[in-house]
Amino acid sequence: MSRPTRIAYGFLAPGLLLFAVYRLYPLLEGLRLSFTNARLGRASEQWIGVANYTRLLADDRFHVSLWNTAFYTVASTLPILAVPLALALALNRGRLRTLLRSVFFFPFTLSVVTVGLAWLWLLDPVVGPFNYYLRSLGVPARSWLADPQTAMWTIILTTVWWVTGYYLVIYLAGLQDIPRDLYEAAALDGASGWRSFWAITLPLLRPVLLFVVVTHVIGSFQLFGQVFVLTGGGPGDATRTVVQHLYETAFQNFFQFGAASAMAWVLFAVILAFSVLQFRLLRGHTEY
C-alpha cells in the first residue's frame, strides 16, 4: 500500500469500523439469523432453511400487520405530498416566511412519544378539547383511536402534523431553485397561476417529490412509535404494524430471533420494491 493510500484509510478507519460493526455486520447477521431457529438463551441454533419464511405465509397476524402498514403508507402518501407542498407554495407567496416556516417545522423537533402523548390527551373521548370543539360544531364525540374505522386515519393525521414541517423546508428549498424568469415568461404568454403550477413548478420539482415520496415510504413501512403510544396496535389488530409484530415476536414472545429476522427481511424487500417502483414512476418521463 502506498503512503497516500495508507493515510486515506487511516482517516477512514474509525468511521468504517463503526459502520462495519453496527451497520454492515447486523445486516448480514440478520439475514443469517432468518434461516435459523435462533432464540434468546438457546445455546445452539440450527439451520432450518426457509422454514421461518414459509411460516410467515401462514401467519395471519403478520398478514394483517403487513396490510395495515401498506394501507398506512399508501393512504398517507397523498397528504404527505400535498399538505407541505400547498403550505410551501403559500409561504413562498405570502409574508413572514421565516416565522411561519419555523412554526410549521417545530413539531418535527419532538419525539414520537411526545407527539403521541400530546394527541392522546387532545383526542381524549371524554375530556379532550378535540371532541369538545367538534361537539360544539355539531359533530358527535367519538373515541377516534378506539374505533377501527378511524384509528388508522387518526394516526395518519398526527403523523402529518408531526412531519409536515420537515417536508415543507425541503419543498421551499426546491421552489427557490426554480428560476424566476420561467414564471415571468409564462405570465407574459398569458399563462394563469394554475397553468404555470402544472407546467413549470410540478415538473421541475420532480426530483424533490421523488425524494419526499421515497423518504416517506421508507419511514412509513417502519411505523411503530405512534402506534405504540396511541393505540398499542388496537382496537383488535386494526393498527397493528409490521415493526410492532416484529418487536413483539423478537422481544416479548419467547424472543424468537430467527422468525423476527425473516420478518425484517420481508419488510426490507417490500420497502425496496416500493422504492424502485417510485423511482420508475417519478423519474421516467422528464422530457416535456
Binding site: 497516500p4 493510500t5 486515506a8 482517516f11 477512514l12 468511521g15 468504517l16 463503526l18 459502520f19 453496527y22 451497520r23 454492515l24 455486520y25 445486516l27 447477521e29 440478520g30 435462533a38 405570502g94 409574508r95 413572514l96 421565516t98 411561519l100 416556516r101 419555523s102 412554526v103 410549521f104 417545522f105 417545530f106 413539531p107 423537533t109 419532538l110 419525539s111 414520537v112 412519544v113 411526545t114 402523548l117 400530546a118 375530556v127 378539547p129 369538545y132 402534523w161 423546508v169 425541503i170 426546491g174 426530483p207 425524494f211 421515497v214 421508507i218 413501512f221 411503530f224 412509535g225 416484529l246 418487536y247 423478537a250 422481544f251 430471533f257 425484517a264 427481511w265 419488510l267 426490507f268
Partner: protein, 285 residues
C-alpha cells in the same frame, strides 16, 4: 399596472392572515401540552377547555422531576438522554468528518466503492437491523449502558454525516490545502487546522441533526435498555403513561414539555442551521 399591483398585494395579505391562523392552529397541540402541565389537577379536565392556566402551579414539574417514586425517573431520564445525545453527536462528528475528508480530497484505490457503500446504506431501514443489533450489543455486554445507546445511535447517522460533509468539503478551493502542504503541513494538520475550521456551519448542522436523532429515538432504547434508571426520556415517558390513570394528565404533560425543551432551545438559537441541515439532507434525493 398600479391597480394590478395593489390587488396582488391585497391577496398576499389575505394569504398571510390565513397562514397565521393556520399557524396558531398548528401550534395549539403544543400549547395545550404546556397549558395542561401548568394547571392544578382539578382544572385540567374542566370543560370548556381553558387555554389560560390560572392559577398556575409548578407541582407537576416538581413531581415529575423530583417527586414520588414512580416518576423519580424523569429527572434521571433527562440526564441519560443528554449523555446519550451528546456522546452520539461527538462520535458522529469525529467519525464522519475524518471519513469525509479523504473521500472528498484524496485519490486512493477503493474510494468510489467505499462511498457507494455508505450512500447505499442510507436505504437500509433501521427496523431491519433491530434484532441482530440487539444480539451484538448483548454479546458486547452493552445492554442498559450508555455506550450501548451512543454507539448504535451514532452508527445510524454516520453515513448521512459523511455524505453531508463530503458535499461541503469538495467545494473548498484546493489552493488552501496546497499552500499548507508546501509549508510542510501533514494531512492531519490540513484537516484539523484548515478544513475543520472552515466547515463550522455544516458541522453545526450535522451536530443538530445527530442530536435530534439520538434525543428522539424510541425503538432502539426501548429494547436495548431494561434497567429503569438507564431509560432515556422517550422510553421513560411512554412508560410513565402506563404508571398513571388516564386522568392524570398533569405530570405526563409536564414530562412531555420537558422532553421538548432542549430542542426548543437549539431551535430558537440556531433556526438557520436546522433549516440548512434539512435542506442539505434533501439534496441527496
Amino acid at each position: 399596472m398600479p391597480r394590478g399591483l395593489r390587488s396582488v398585494d391585497r391577496s398576499s395579505v389575505a394569504l398571510t392572515v390565513a397562514l397565521l391562523a393556520l399557524a396558531v392552529l398548528w401550534l395549539s397541540p403544543i400549547a395545550w401540552v404546556v397549558v395542561t402541565s401548568l394547571k392544578p389537577a382539578p382544572d385540567i379536565i374542566r370543560l370548556p377547555p381553558e387555554w389560560i392556566p390560572w392559577p398556575l402551579t409548578g407541582d407537576h414539574y416538581h413531581e415529575v422531576l423530583l417527586g414520588s417514586s414512580r416518576t423519580a425517573r424523569i429527572g434521571r431520564a433527562f440526564v441519560n438522554s443528554l449523555v446519550v445525545a451528546t456522546g452520539s453527536v461527538l462520535l458522529v462528528l469525529a467519525t464522519s468528518a475524518m471519513a469525509a475528508y479523504p473521500l472528498a480530497r484524496m485519490r486512493f484505490p477503493g474510494r468510489n466503492l467505499v462511498f457507494a457503500l455508505l450512500v447505499g446504506s442510507l436505504m437500509i431501514p433501521n427496523a431491519v437491523l433491530l434484532v441482530p443489533q440487539y444480539v451484538l450489543t448483548q454479546r458486547l455486554g452493552w445492554l442498559s449502558t450508555y455506550q450501548g445507546l451512543i454507539v448504535p445511535e451514532a452508527a445510524m447517522v454516520f453515513a448521512f454525516g459523511v455524505f453531508l460533509l463530503r458535499q461541503f468539503f469538495v467545494t473548498m478551493p484546493r489552493e488552501l490545502e496546497d499552500a499548507a502542504l508546501i509549508d510542510g503541513a501533514g494531512p492531519w494538520q490540513v484537516f484539523s487546522r484548515i478544513i475543520l475550521p472552515l466547515s463550522q456551519p455544516v458541522l453545526a448542522a450535522l451536530a443538530i441533526f445527530a442530536f435530534r436523532s439520538a434525543w428522539n429515538d424510541f425503538l432502539w432504547p426501548l429494547i436495548a435498555v431494561n434497567k429503569p434508571e438507564m431509560f432515556p426520556l422517550p422510553v421513560a415517558l411512554a412508560l410513565l403513561r402506563s404508571a398513571y390513570s388516564a386522568e392524570s394528565y398533569g405530570p405526563i404533560m409536564a414530562g412531555a414539555a420537558l422532553s421538548a425543551l432542549p430542542l426548543l432551545v437549539v431551535f430558537v438559537v440556531a433556526n438557520r442551521r436546522i433549516v440548512e441541515g434539512v435542506r442539505l439532507s434533501g439534496l441527496k434525493g
